[in-house]
Symmetry: C2
Subunit: 160 residues, 2 copies
Amino acid sequence: MNERTEQLKTRLKAKGLKITTQRLLVLRVLMDNAGEHLTAEEIYAKTCELNPGIGLATVYRSIQLLTQLGLVDRINLDDGSARYEISDADEEKGKHHRHHHLICLNCGKIIPFEKDLLEELERNVSETTGFQIVDHEVRLYGYCSDCSKAEVKSGLRTEE
Amino acid sequence: MNERTEQLKTRLKAKGLKITTQRLLVLRVLMDNAGEHLTAEEIYAKTCELNPGIGLATVYRSIQLLTQLGLVDRINLDDGSARYEISDADEEKGKHHRHHHLICLNCGKIIPFEKDLLEELERNVSETTGFQIVDHEVRLYGYCSDCSKAEVKSGLRTEE
DNA sequence: ATCGCTGCAAATGCTTTGCAAGTAC
DNA sequence: GTACTTGCAAAGCATTTGCAGCGAT
């Protein structure tokens, strides 16, 4: 049995919640698509392939639960719908070690990158403001290597 | 006449768009509330105080226009509605020099901070991936000094 | 047998859009 | 006068919720 699946079961039991086919299924889809950034609708479509009876509302509820349990990260790229991906780490307490995202302003491609050059920044900010930092999210916007050539230029930013 | 107002007028003319009371008003509200992070609804309320006739849809349209013209930044803190603030810099081309945000997970307070420790990160990522970076956004989540004491602890993250 | 969970449909909340009248140029 | 804009109301989307029946423990 998968490690994350075990974690899900343990955490559900710990809260008196039930282990259902739907919850396991949503977790599986997210695991099978690690590295992707799926919308709720996309997750729903993939769960339907495996279990046609599932409802969209249940997918939403499961995603929300998995996120709260720390097994899934939600990211919002301002493209109209939230996206979800399996969480990198699973420390129960302390800092999430999530990765960050490069977003192409032209083609919408999302490229994840792993880097933790923020420790210094966080320490600095923490000292200055008294803020206790537990998580962070970084997004870099630009043009991917494919689109750099095309150089879409206009007074307005490229419509999203 | 204000510098930003002049910029707005210039940029509108350059595009064959019209200089209207409503557009100037929305810009003024954002300027008068620099440092705040207003939702469209909040901007609407403030414009109504100055010009009761204005419509919410027009506020949305104006905000969108101002954002496209680079005079306003949109930020999304995942609290249900987008927020807007007057842009820091106004370079026509090149990199936006926007500031970043500390978000309190307990009280929802948003504290802006100015720091540009990302240059190094961006250079690094750019070399590695061939991505041409033009903008970035950083959000740090944690507990503000006021809330650090309260230490809301539960298995689930604090509901937003 | 409980109490939680699901699926459906309806509801919600933010944002956008269609349209006729109004306004800047 | 000609577009572009506005205000209103209606529409659009993503997401949430109410509820009756279903399912896990």
